[in-house]
């Protein structure tokens, strides 16, 4: 058996990068063959070249940069609101079991409510402005995040907590100076995951009653059957996702170097 395929054995960073890029190359290759080869009608799928051209036109003529800025801002605002509530609440629920007992059933119930189903209600409550879009993201992220943080904090090694007690730590010391730092890298990781989900909600929110944003642009393009613009819009979301992911990872490695290789 090839030594490269030993279970759990890491590969060299350079090889990893090459592998990651090859996947993209193959993807574009397949896309190019399907479209330029005439296997798929342009009406259904624009070619890579047409998509790029549509994208350039979007930026030049339709102010797409502003759409991107609006969408990024919505995601950011909704996500920060969700994190600001969910992280402290999750820590409290993980640390203090009566708090967990009080909230857990409700949060588990609320977690299954699809954020997109709230859109009609939210339009009724908050109109079709910014607040409504931000609330969709907030609702979609907050309950997931609470549960994840609770599980993370509950899973902190009890022997670390016991060691802290035998060193004279009291309740607040244990929460602030043991549970919190011990959980921080994993909480950060949970934020990274949930941010990915927040992006799916924002597009859904923008498909209904928006006048700006990437999602709105995609719906607009659909009216003119412009698959190039649609695909470009979807692509931009992916690229932004990739960049935030890399930023999160870099920041995580920077903030919590001690957690490396665990």
């Amino acid at each position: 058996m090839s030594p490269l395929f030993t279970p759990l054995k890491p590969v060299a960073p350079a090889l990893r990068t090459v592998l990651g890029i090859s996947c993209f190359v193959l993807f574009f290759l397949g896309w190019g063959i399907a479209t330029y080869g005439g296997f798929v009608k342009p009406l259904f799928l624009a070619s890579p070249g047409d998509t790029l051209a549509a994208g350039i036109a979007l930026f030049r003529e339709f102010g797409f940069a502003e759409d991107i800025a609006v969408t990024v801002w919505r995601v950011f605002a909704g996500f920060v609101m969700a994190a600001a509530l969910a992280v402290p609440l999750g820590i409290l629920m993980g640390a203090f079991k009566p708090v967990e007992g009080f909230f857990e059933a409700f949060v588990s119930f609320a977690r299954y409510l699809p954020a997109s189903a709230f859109i009609p209600l939210l339009i009724l409550w908050a109109g079709v402005g910014e607040l409504q879009k931000i609330l969709v993201i907030f609702i979609g992220s907050v309950f997931q995040l609470v549960i994840m943080v609770t599980v993370i904090v509950s899973g902190i090694r009890t022997d670390l907590v016991e060691a802290a007690y035998t060193l004279g730590a009291k309740r607040d010391g244990v929460v602030l100076r043991v549970l919190l730092p011990a959980a921080a890298p994993q909480i950060f990781e949970a934020l990274r995951l949930v941010l990915g989900w927040a992006w799916t909600y924002v597009i859904v929110a923008e498909l209904v009653g928006a006048s700006r944003g990437i999602g709105h642009m995609i719906i607009d393009a659909q009216r003119f059957l412009d698959t190039g613009q649609m695909i470009f819009g979807i692509f931009v979301i992916g690229v932004i996702g990739l960049i935030t992911d890399l930023l999160f990872r870099a920041l995580n490695a920077r903030l919590f170097p001690w957690a490396k290789g665990r």
């Binding site: 016991e162 060193l167 004279g168 730590a169 100076r177 730092p181 011990a182 001690w258 290789g261 665990r262």
Partner: protein, 262 residues
């Protein structure tokens, strides 16, 4: 008055999911004099850790009480420093900050914390590793840091639960000499749990042998080897005599423990 009085302490763990409760400790009494170094020797599962954890206040006895300098123990505190068998350094803190942890919880000014920490790190031979993180240390170094961390608090007693159990034989012997050297220098009262007979005799002024589960104290043997002891004491006839006796005592209990498991 003795430093520590364990009075008719017993422990039964409640059964989970319809399993029968576990009787871990029969009523046990033990007096520990000031400056004593007591090792608790017993087969696996006999309740050694349970007894030590009750003294530490990490476990509440089902009956009986523990008095430290005449005052009842009701929970963990910095007056009883503990070193665990598992590695319990805080992975996000440097070696120096780990040792400072208890001092910081007590509110000591930072400059004093550092002075104390560096003194104890030097004592356990870790000068030059102050800024390392635990993940960068070998097992022996981690346990030495844990020892320094416990000592830095200047506890009334030191509780050690097989602190060298996970180390290789050579490192383990060096650690025993290190700990014994520290004890010979300031005679802090120590309770040391182990299932290694050599280790028990070498460091102890008294070896307490526990019976197979449910644990109770089977015999209590003063070790009258002169101090300071060097590793060479392990090859003397006196040491061999103690070893022969304890081997016999432990063997009987281990056989009982093993047949009980069947």
């Amino acid at each position: 008055m003795s430093k520590l009085s364990i009075r008719n302490v017993e422990k039964t763990f409640p059964g989970r999911n319809n399993t029968a409760p576990t009787r871990a400790l029969e009523p046990t009494s033990l007096e520990v004099a000031d400056n004593d170094f007591i090792t608790i020797l017993g087969p696996s599962g006999c309740g050694k850790s349970t007894l030590l954890r009750i003294v530490a206040g990490l476990e509440t006895p089902s009956a009986g009480e523990v008095l430290l300098e005449g005052k009842a123990v009701s929970g963990p505190g910095p007056d009883r420093g503990m070193v665990f068998q598992s590695y319990t350094l805080f992975p996000w803190l440097t070696v120096r900050d780990n040792v400072c942890f208890g001092l910081r919880e007590r509110g000591l000014p930072r400059a004093e914390q550092l002075a104390v920490a560096d003194r104890f790190l030097a004592q356990v031979g870790l000068k030059g590793f102050e800024n390392h993180h635990p993940a960068q240390l070998s097992g022996g170094m981690q346990q030495r840091t844990a020892l320094a961390r416990a000592l830095a608090n200047d506890p009334k007693m030191l509780l050690l639960d097989e602190p060298f159990g996970a180390l290789d034989h050579q490192t383990r012997e060096l650690m025993q000499e290190l700990l014994l050297g520290i004890w010979e220098a300031d005679r802090k009262t120590v309770m040391f749990v182990t299932h290694d007979i050599d280790e028990a005799i070498f460091m102890a002024s008294r070896v307490v042998v526990m019976s197979a589960r449910p644990g109770r104290i089977k015999c209590d043997i003063p070790i009258e080897l002169p101090h300071p002891r060097s590793y060479k004491v392990k090859t003397t006839p006196e040491f061999a005599a103690y070893k022969e006796r304890l081997t016999e005592e432990i063997r009987v209990e281990t056989i009982k423990a093993v047949t009980m498991e069947r």
